[in-house]
């Protein structure tokens, strides 16, 4: 801390008391601040340990392999296999992220490398509003627009054109499907992915672009050969971040995926992701033994996967922020 030596020798007793008390307030504040600041670290630990503790009854009773890879879900008979829920979550996430990746990368590159100030000004509120819309509203949109679209347009098309290929065959023509969930998720995670990729492109020095352009490269050649190799880890991290968001999304997905406990085999099959499982059954869990432990175990699985995703993404992205 900077002090003024001349001033401190010249202070009267009274002033010195004031200085000392200010100093004391600062020290005291520093301690309180420190405690508050490390709370987030503690919070993660508490949530983890809490969930672990509460799901211990089931974790200690069944081997982990049976829980993770068992397909039987009959809580009243004491059978708790999470496999179809885990696979359902993965399906919905992969479809959502897969649909989101190409447009997100293109839009982010466009905004970072091509667009002038006016287009950026136009695009920002679009992305802000997409980010602000609550999940349940996405769910309503999914229910009113996406599910009917899948049911009446995409499904029949797919069945006609690609029906021979299991992935695109329509067995359950209700529209409540992995694809509907994926479409809703794709739109939901778009603003996040675009924002992160845009920021990463902005960290690349302008000089690098100029060096390439000065040689007569086109803009796309510059992006492809100079910028993309530089930012690729960041793009992957952005996608992982989007995936982790999609992985844990509850209400919006729950409203459109059908919630049937099965391993989906086609984009048009219904699925039952983990978050939906928790949300749908939490109210009634107290009546069946081990049910609450099972649901908290589902939350724990969700949490652990998302922690890993997030830590990976954050560590990679850190390299870009100097």
């Amino acid at each position: 801390m900077a002090q003024n030596p001349i001033q401190s020798t010249a202070t009267t007793r009274n002033q010195r008391v004031v200085v000392a008390s200010r100093r004391r307030t600062d020290t005291w504040a520093r301690r309180v601040f420190f405690v508050i600041t490390v709370l987030p670290i503690g919070l993660i630990a508490v949530v983890l340990i809490g969930l672990l503790y509460r799901s211990w009854p089931i974790l200690s009773r069944y081997p982990l392999v049976d829980l993770l890879f068992g397909v039987d879900w009959k809580p009243s008979e004491g059978r708790f296999g999470f496999y179809s829920f885990i696979v359902g979550t993965v399906w919905v996430t992969v479809v959502g992220v897969g649909l989101a990746i190409p447009p997100c990368i293109l839009v982010a590159i466009y905004l970072a490398e091509y667009a002038g100030a006016r287009i950026r000004l136009l695009a920002k509120p679009i992305l802000d509003v997409l980010a602000a819309i609550p999940p349940v509203v996405y769910g309503v949109w999914g229910l009113l627009s996406v599910v009917p679209l899948v049911e009446t347009v995409l499904g029949p098309w797919s069945q006609q054109l690609l029906g021979f290929w299991g992935l695109f065959a329509v067995q359950q023509p209700t529209g409540f499907s992995v694809l509907a969930g994926g479409i809703v998720l794709a739109v939901m995670i778009t603003p996040l992915i675009i924002a992160v990729i845009f920021e990463i492109f902005n960290t690349v020095p302008v000089d690098l672009r100029n060096a390439s352009l000065a040689i007569g490269a086109t803009r796309w050649e510059t992006i492809q050969r100079v910028l993309l190799p530089q930012v690729m880890p960041g793009i992957i991290a952005a996608i992982v971040l989007g995936a982790s968001r999609a992985f844990g999304e509850t209400i919006a997905v729950l409203m459109v995926v059908g919630n049937i406990a099965q391993v989906p085999h086609s984009l048009f099959d219904a699925a039952y992701p983990l978050p939906a499982l928790i949300a749908n059954n939490y109210g009634e869990m107290m009546s069946i033994p081990l049910y609450d432990a099972a649901l908290l175990c589902a939350a724990l699985i969700l949490l652990v996967i998302i922690l890993l995703f997030n830590i990976f993404a954050t560590v990679v992205l850190k390299r870009f922020v100097k």
């Binding site: 900077a2 001033q7 100093r23 307030t25 600062d26 504040a29 601040f33 420190f34 508050i36 600041t37 490390v38 987030p40 670290i41 919070l43 993660i44 949530v47 809490g50 190409p102 447009p103 997100c104 293109l106 839009v107 466009y110 905004l111 091509y114 287009i119 679009i126 802000d128 997409l130 602000a132 819309i133 609550p134 999940p135 349940v136 509203v137 996405y138 769910g139 309503v140 949109w141 229910l143 009113l144 739109v187 086109t218 796309w220 844990g248 509850t250 209400i251 978050p275 928790i278 949300a279 939490y282 109210g283 609450d292 649901l295 908290l296 939350a299 998302i306 922690l307 997030n310 560590v315």
Partner: protein
């Protein structure tokens, strides 16, 4: 040096540009489609009764009433959670920037916040609910507020952290050189200078909080009455939408769409309001 537009290189350039603009248009159209759907389906049932009354008997079968309980419940929940989150977020953001700067602790705390940000609200909700069972607490406004505050905390803190980071270093340095303690710098220089950004961060978190359904699903409960105490259960708009859509009565589902429109309007007002407010406040900071 004539441009040959059909030359391979220029063709690729053109195609990529079209793909990029096309993608931007698609994203814009998605937003348009969402807003259009919500407005077109929600507006017909959006009556004055919807926003001025609580559910009356038979509401869930299509009879009289509105969702005032949910609107107020959501405002209480989000306001309470935001207030609670500020109490922690502001000290953390200030401490990160003014005391810790870029030390190992700061990195760790930022990592923790980013990770917390990524935890889905359903996990917070489930965790909160177990905690409530252990403590013997029933679903209530207070429990909802606490869990929502957990959801909002990382969003708010990281947003504040970013704003404070952008504050020019010399401003704080100058104040320190004048003999101010770090606390005084934080309170008298950093906060006033970054007020627009702090307000944006707070409203961002508020918007996120008011729209979250999964966190309040088990913790805040649901009731037709307007909450009168922190310890009573409360309704919330996202859950009102969710529950109304779950009924078999078309009239009730129509009102669910109207509720979604109300929620959307509130969230958009908060989003645009925060930008407007930040721009207003910007004038009072030293450049």
């Amino acid at each position: 040096m004539r441009l040959q537009p059909w030359n391979r290189r220029h063709l690729i350039e053109r195609i990529m540009q079209i793909a990029m603009i096309g993608s931007l248009v698609i994203v814009g159209l998605c937003l348009g489609a969402i807003l259009w759907t919500i407005i077109a389906r929600g507006l017909p049932s959006l009556t004055w009764q919807m926003i001025s009354q609580t559910p009356k008997g038979g509401f869930y079968m299509g009879k009289e009433g509105g969702v005032l309980n949910a609107i107020l419940g959501s405002l209480y929940l989000a306001s309470g959670a935001t207030a609670l989150a500020i109490v922690f977020a502001l000290p953390i953001a200030l401490y990160l920037q003014t005391y810790l700067a870029t030390s190992g602790w700061a990195q760790l705390v930022r990592l923790a916040l980013d990770v917390l940000w990524g935890i889905p609200s359903i996990v917070y909700g489930a965790f909160g609910f177990t905690l409530m069972i252990v403590l013997g607490v029933r679903a209530s406004l207070l429990a909802g507020i606490i869990v929502l505050a957990l959801v909002e905390l990382p969003i708010m803190t990281r947003a504040m952290d970013e704003v404070i980071r952008r504050l020019p270093r010399d401003l704080a340095q100058a104040a320190l050189a004048l003999g101010s303690t770090k606390l005084e710098v934080a309170l008298r220089v950093v906060i006033p200078q970054t007020l627009p950004g702090i307000v944006t961060a707070v409203l961002l978190a508020f918007g996120r909080g008011i729209g979250d359904a999964a966190a309040v699903l088990f913790t805040a409960g649901y009731t037709d009455r307007i909450p009168t105490s922190l310890l009573r259960a409360t309704a919330s708009l996202p859950l009102a939408v969710f529950f109304q859509l779950g009924t078999p009565y078309p009239e009730v589902r129509e009102r669910g769409y109207a509720s979604a429109l109300i929620l959307t309007i509130i969230v958009l007002l908060v989003s645009f309001g925060s930008r407007w407010l930040a721009a207003r406040l910007q004038r009072y900071t030293v450049k």
